[in-house]
């Protein structure tokens, strides 16, 4: 497999008959692997990449039920950021953002990481106090954050509703300049190509149908393409974590919910940042094609259908128009849904399980995409060493019984219970 470079680009441009090689192989599954990763999404692919790169483990298979890029890695709103303020989250997501910053070079694949900055708009003086606190915590942890007053926000985001009768007055904002967006498909393809070049077998259209467990220890998986033996098995199927873990006899603090995302018709460049809102959960950025990409809350009842409800489309559109009145005449082009694991505290799991040699990565709630690099990095460490890294030690399954919840926003699956 050849390295991508300016030279290879020129060579292919000058010789149109020279085909670009496939980015990854399509191997038949072997009878046995050191590590089998269940799920070929962003997190599974990243895990394989870091298993090879950081730990020298390359006898690895990734089993994907559908095709690479078909799940949540291609269904998110592509935002990356690290403005967290609680314990383990702060360090973990900052580690992730640092990996994002070098990702295109690391993978030799242009992930189009665009650090355009994220501005979270405050709608009350009290919220400015909350943002000041969050910014202070971030800065104490070496993360960039700045507080903007109303005048500074007016310069940065001149298209918000600053009128006297605005329902939600703009009081200021918190700004993380290093936040931004990345090209989600490229992240999947880049990790897949890199893992494949290291010798990892990516096996698409191969559904795991059961686990082989002997004396409390996992020894392999049953799949739609036969039995595959494994020294270690790593689950990374967020959205379907309960469904897969149940086959291993596990009952988890996870519910599957649908989150919708939306894109409008293409516009001339107008929104130059990722803009979020303090009045409701709402986040919007403008893609390179010009469409406004945005999202809000989950629909609010557990489901595995990737189809959203109209009421949520209306809610999110109301948010868009309240914050940015110009969007009222923009037409919605597409909307889609992704199924995500919701945990009671809104934080994920990257941990060992009660079954020996079976590992769990899931429960990503709203934050799976931005976590992709650090998730793979720490999960690879957990699998290789059979113990968590300091960065993911708190993302354990037993944190609820021990009283160590990480309820950053308190927006786990409780929304319907509040």
């Amino acid at each position: 497999m050849s390295k991508y470079s300016a030279f290879s680009l020129a060579r292919h441009a000058l010789d149109p008959d020279l085909p670009w090689p496939r980015a990854w192989r399509s191997p038949e599954p072997k009878a046995s692997y050191d590590v089998v990763i269940v799920g070929g999404g962003g997190h599974g692919l990243a895990t394989a990449h870091y298993l090879a790169k950081n730990h020298g483990i390359t006898n690895v298979a990734i089993l994907e039920r559908s095709y690479i890029g078909s799940g949540n890695v291609g269904r998110n709103t592509t935002i990356i950021r690290s403005n967290y303020q609680m314990g383990a989250n702060t360090g973990f997501f900052e580690h992730s953002l640092k990996l994002w910053e070098g990702l295109s070079h690391d993978l030799n694949f242009n992930c189009m990481v665009s650090q355009r900055g994220q501005v979270v708009v405050a709608v009350s003086p009290v919220q400015m106090d909350v943002f000041a606190r969050r910014g202070n915590i971030m800065r104490l942890n070496g993360i960039d954050a700045e507080l903007l007053d109303r005048g500074e926000v007016m310069k940065l985001l001149p298209y918000l509703d600053y009128s006297k009768d605005a329902r939600w007055p703009v009081c200021g904002a918190i700004h993380q300049p290093r936040a931004g967006t990345a090209r989600h498909d490229a992240v999947a393809w880049g990790y897949a190509r890199s893992a494949d070049m290291a010798g990892v077998d990516i096996i698409e259209n191969c559904e795991v149908t059961g686990f082989a467990i002997e004396n409390g220890k996992v020894t392999g998986v049953e799949t739609s393409r036969g039995r595959i033996n494994a020294g270690k098995v790593a689950i990374a199927v967020a959205g379907h974590t309960s469904h897969v873990a149940k086959m291993a006899g596990l009952r988890l603090p996870v519910e599957s919910h649908i989150l919708q995302a939306f894109v409008t018709e293409p516009l001339k460049p107008i929104v130059h940042h990722v803009v979020s809102w303090g009045a409701e959960l709402f986040y919007l950025s403008q893609s390179d094609k010009g469409g406004l990409v945005f999202g809000g809350h989950i629909d609010g009842f557990n489901t595995y259908t990737q189809r959203g409800q109209f009421a949520k489309i209306r809610d999110v559109a109301e948010c868009a128009v309240s914050l940015m009145p110009f969007t009222s005449r923009v037409r919605l082009l597409r909307h889609w849904g992704g199924i995500q694991d919701m945990t009671p505290d809104g934080s994920p799991f990257i941990c060992k399980t009660p079954v020996k040699n079976l590992y769990l990565n899931g429960g990503w709630c709203y934050q799976g995409f931005k976590a992709t690099p650090a998730s793979g990095w720490t999960y690879a460490h957990t699998i290789a060493n059979d113990e968590p890294h300091a960065l993911n030690r708190d993302f354990s399954l037993d944190r609820f019984e021990k009283g160590n919840e990480l309820d950053e926003f308190g927006i786990g699956n409780w929304t319907y219970k509040q």
């Binding site: 469904h243 988890l252 603090p253 519910e255 009842f301 259908t305 409800q309 219970k417």
Partner: protein
């Protein structure tokens, strides 16, 4: 999605509030007087979910209508809803 309220008949789902898994049984309180009972049982009741991909017995409330609570079975793989009870 449309749900059939036992009192008002079929209405849009946005008139309803979701109440979660109706098959869970609330554990009994302890007998010591301070009464939280067995912690593991309560942990499992509060934090663990069957989260099935298929039929799911659940609570709904017609919160923007008659405010009646009821249960129904919904298939979480298709959002097909059964008769309310």
């Amino acid at each position: 999605m449309r749900l059939a309220c036992p009192h008002c008949g079929p209405r849009d789902y946005s008139e309803f509030r979701y109440g979660g898994d109706a098959s869970k049984q609330r554990p009994p309180h302890g007998t010591t007087g301070h009464g939280t009972g067995d912690l593991q049982t309560w942990h499992d009741f509060v934090f663990l979910f069957d989260n099935p991909k298929g039929p799911h017995l659940e609570y709904w409330q017609h919160v923007l209508g008659c405010r009646r609570w009821f249960t129904l079975t919904r298939n979480t793989a298709t959002n097909e809803v059964g008769e309310p009870k």
